[in-house]
């Protein structure tokens, strides 16, 4: 069973996302929320790594946290799917375990 990794830190402040990317295996999913949504922006130093892994790893970002921070869909890197809290719940129930990169 694959894992849902959950990242709530900006990759520009903490290494949680980098560490998560280093441990996520093919088939896993990564959800970016809270300050983690800054990791979903396009044209950042981490965007290349996301597009390199996208496909093997599925990337999601929480829409309510994007909107709160003034980041619309247009700012999000390709290959990242926006979900709401209901979608977050679905991600939890459809993966074998969750791992929060606190």
């Amino acid at each position: 069973m694959t894992t849902l990794h959950i990242v709530n830190k900006s990759p520009f402040e903490k290494n949680a996302m980098e560490s998560c990317l280093g441990h996520a295996l093919d088939g896993d999913a990564i959800l970016l929320f809270e300050d983690g949504v800054y990791g979903a922006l396009s044209n950042t130093r981490i965007a290349n790594e996301i597009s390199r892994r996208a496909g093997a790893v599925k990337f999601f970002v929480l829409g309510p946290d994007l909107n709160a921070r003034g980041l619309g869909d247009g700012r999000i890197a390709d290959g990242i799917t926006v979900v709401d809290y209901s979608g977050f719940v679905d991600l939890v129930t459809t993966h074998g375990r969750t791992q929060s990169w606190l």
Binding site: T2, T3, N15, A16, S19, G22, H23, A24, L25, D28, R97, T98, Q99, S100, W101, L102
Partner: protein, 135 residues
Amino acid sequence: MSEAKKFLYVNRKAPYGTIYALESLEVVLIGAAFDQHVSLAFVDDGVFQIAKGQDTKSLGVKNFSPTYRALGDYGVTKFYVEKDSLDERGLSADDLMEITYEDENDGFAEKPSIIVVTKAEMAEVMRDQDVILSF
């Protein structure tokens, strides 16, 4: 109660600066009584939790590092430590406390609890779990 599950405690934070390492250890101690399969992972700054030579006297806070060494008596015998995290921090396994357990299936022989693994091996350990607790 259901069958035994695999619990992994993921430690990614250094001790003393925040309470997470200490209170995580308190969960491990209580959890040991539940007859589940328990492993600990030390990744990123979490490797500093089990560094040798901790002395908190001048801080007036409890030095809880000896507790890790006692976990073997509670059946907690798997400490996965990520080599990449040690390397990045200029540490080697020699800089960690000696943590051992007595193997009851092998004449109570004293064995090391610390298992140094690569990042790829750690990823496999993580995927092998039922419940991952991070603090």
